[in-house]
């Protein structure tokens, strides 16, 4: 079995990919996917730390991941509903074209 | 009796022990995979011919009877035809997704078979959260359906895929809710434990299967309905409604890829049938104490075949639903009924502790049955408001 740092490094790479995507892509849906990837990276950390932590029988990391999953589902639902609502009004979901609040 | 019951397990062990010691874990895994794939593939071939012949008999026809004795080699001929047909990919299709969709559809369904206990000690994997895994793998097929529909770049394909996804998402809810009472009372998500919990006989001869309780009967009905919809079978086969959508998301598929979709459909049917047998019909348990001498896999196979026959019977009987009827049935009837069923199961479970009249089994029976019959009648009226009214036809008569 691999040492925990392997899982953490995979998680770090996943997080950085998600972060770069969320920061640079201009499509709102892709930004949302990037955020989901970052959330997943965090979940992987929780599971890895639970697995090799001192008290795995307490299931803390697992419980946290389960709640995180539920919240991610809620976030995706609301986020995508927002994107669809924005698309109805502005006919675009390219973030650099949604600039009416720019000073 | 015991050697016959465990014949597959022991012969499997003997086969594996022939391999060198370092390769034995891999050999065991490979043998299990090969066994499951061979049995399910054989079942697939057999079911196609039995379904066609059964449908024929139901419709006063004979069905295929030309290839081989009684037409039994028809699946071979069909398979040969499918394999040798030209594989056409539309020029505007998204090649990668079009290629991957049938594979992604079939792989999760194969995986589900590793969870089913086909007999005593005959589950390939005893996962602790088996039922949840089953549903997770089932939901992965939705993505494959979307890929197939979208990558074909065909309006009918996209429409068919959208219908299929709407249907699968809607019916996943009652499917999962119908299984919840079983999980609640068995106290486990593992399929092996659920079969274990259905052991023994009440009054010495009535098996303690879940289907023989009021909540189990209702749950089984809900499960069967939702499972039919989930595996896209008639009367819920709108995604492939050929009168409206040609063949739905399969329109642009031909040759071997089409065969894979076909296979996936039947394997999905087998998977939900196996799950239904395990959850409600007592898995591999014998129906009567005096029949315990027959091997456990025989009972599983028998119940499994009976359930498949019920699906074929339903296909030959019921006309296809309209899309709004389909969604109404799911959200206005199946889901509320499943929720009430959960409540009834909880009362069934807890009523012995209340003491008094509730400890006697007939009282529990009456109480839970009453809890379920009245909502059934009431919700049935809500879902079909014109029931009993005389129909008027615009042009006929």
């Amino acid at each position: 079995m691999s040492p925990p740092s392997q899982y953490l490094i995979v998680s770090a790479m996943l997080f950085s990919v998600g972060f770069a995507g969320a920061a640079l892509r201009r499509n709102a849906i892709l930004v949302l996917i990037g955020i989901e990837l970052m959330l997943n990276a965090a979940n992987l950390n929780f599971i890895a730390f639970w697995r090799c932590g001192a008290h795995p029988e307490a299931l803390t990391g697992v419980m946290f991941t389960i709640f995180s999953l539920a919240i991610a589902a809620a976030e995706a639902a609301v986020g995508l509903a927002l994107i669809i609502a924005v698309y109805r009004h502005r006919r675009t979901i390219q973030l650099d074209e949604l600039e009416s609040l720019k000073g | 009796m015991n050697w016959l019951d465990q014949i597959f397990v022991t012969s499997g062990h003997q086969l594996v022990s022939l391999a060198p010691a370092s390769l034995q874990p891999a050999a065991s895994v490979l043998l299990t995979i090969a066994a499951i794939m061979a049995v399910c593939g054989g079942c697939f071939a057999l079911t196609t011919i039995i379904e066609r012949k059964g449908l024929g008999r139901i419709q006063n026809r004979r069905g295929p009877n030309r290839v081989g004795p009684c037409g039994l080699f028809q699946p071979l001929a069909d398979g040969l035809k499918m394999l040798t047909k030209e594989d056409i990919v539309p020029s505007s299709a998204d090649k990668a997704a079009h290629f991957l969709a049938p594979i992604i559809l079939t792989v999760p369904i194969w995986l589900t078979f590793s969870l089913l206990p086909f007999g005593r000690n005959m589950a390939a994997l005893n996962l602790d959260s088996g039922v949840l895994f089953f549903f997770a793998l089932g939901s992965a097929t939705e993505l494959a359906v979307f890929m197939a529909g979208w990558s074909s770049q065909n309006k009918y394909s996209v429409l068919g895929a959208m219908r299929a996804i709407a249907q699968m998402i809607s019916y996943e809810v009652p499917l999962a809710l119908a299984t919840v009472p079983v999980l609640m009372l068995a106290g486990s998500l593992s399929l092996v434990d659920i079969v274990q919990a259905q052991g023994g006989y009440a009054l010495g001869f009535v098996p303690r299967w879940n289907v023989l309780t009021p909540w189990g009967l209702v749950g089984f009905g809900l499960f069967l309905t939702a499972a039919t919809a989930e595996s896209n079978r008639s009367p819920f086969d709108l995604p492939e409604g050929e009168s409206e959508l040609i063949a739905g998301y399969l329109t642009e598929y031909s040759g071997f890829k089409y065969a894979l979709f076909f296979l996936g459909e039947y394997l999905g049917l087998f998977a939900v049938s196996g799950l239904g047998v395990t959850l409600f019909l007592g898995g591999w348990r014998a129906p009567l104490p005096i029949l315990e001498w027959a091997p456990s896999w025989f009972w599983f196979g028998g119940k499994f075949s009976a359930l498949i026959f019920v699906f074929i019977w339903a296909r030959g009987t019921l006309p296809r639903l309209r899309l709004d009827q389909l969604l109404n049935l799911a959200w206005k009837f199946l889901v509320p009924m499943a929720l009430i069923n959960m409540l009834a199961a909880a009362i069934w479970h807890l009523s012995p502790q209340w003491g008094g009249v509730f400890t006697s089994p007939p009282m529990r029976w009456l109480l839970t049955a009453a809890m379920l019959v009245f909502p059934y009648v009431w919700l049935g009226r809500a879902v079909n408001p014109r029931a009993g009214a005389k129909r008027e036809y615009a042009y006929a008569e």
Binding site: - | R57, Q59, R62, T317, L318, F333, Y376
Partner: protein
Amino acid sequence: MLGSGIIKGFIETGRNFAESYFVPERLTTVQYPEEQLPPHENTRTIPFLVYDASDPAVGLRCTACQICEQECPPGCIRIVKDTTKKPDFVGKMQFQPAVFEIDISVCMGCGICAEVCPFDSIKMDHVFNLCAVERLESMLVRKERLAKSNDYFRSIHPREAREIDAQRGEEKAKAEAKTRAAAAAKASPATNPVCGAAA
């Protein structure tokens, strides 16, 4: 109650399935090449020509009047008149077709030729196994293949054949009576120019 109709349907189809092994009414299909249902009398496929008695060369009812050729909507009939006349069944001198061809790859089986024929000669057949490996020569049916006996016509269209036979019998009897009368008249000095050639 919800589901009562569904159960009724299940019972009916279940009976269909189970009884199909015992009750012939529940299994109505026929295994085609081995068993064949007799075609209905009014079935029509392609036309054929009726001949009386046993020799098609003599008894062919067709008089090459070419009405069918003109009426045929797709124009699949070709008729060439013979140069000499022969006596028909009432003894009247008529032409016979030297060539009578139907291109059955063009024929649409409408039956108009049979309707317009004043001599009850062209009728619609019941044969339907008309496929061939070649599409020109074997699809062009000539007089020899078209000619079929009146017995055959009686066997496939018994009702119509009975009527026609009765009618023709009447006509023949009338013609014979006329000839007899003419013969009787010949014995007396008066002559009848119509029935010059008594059979």
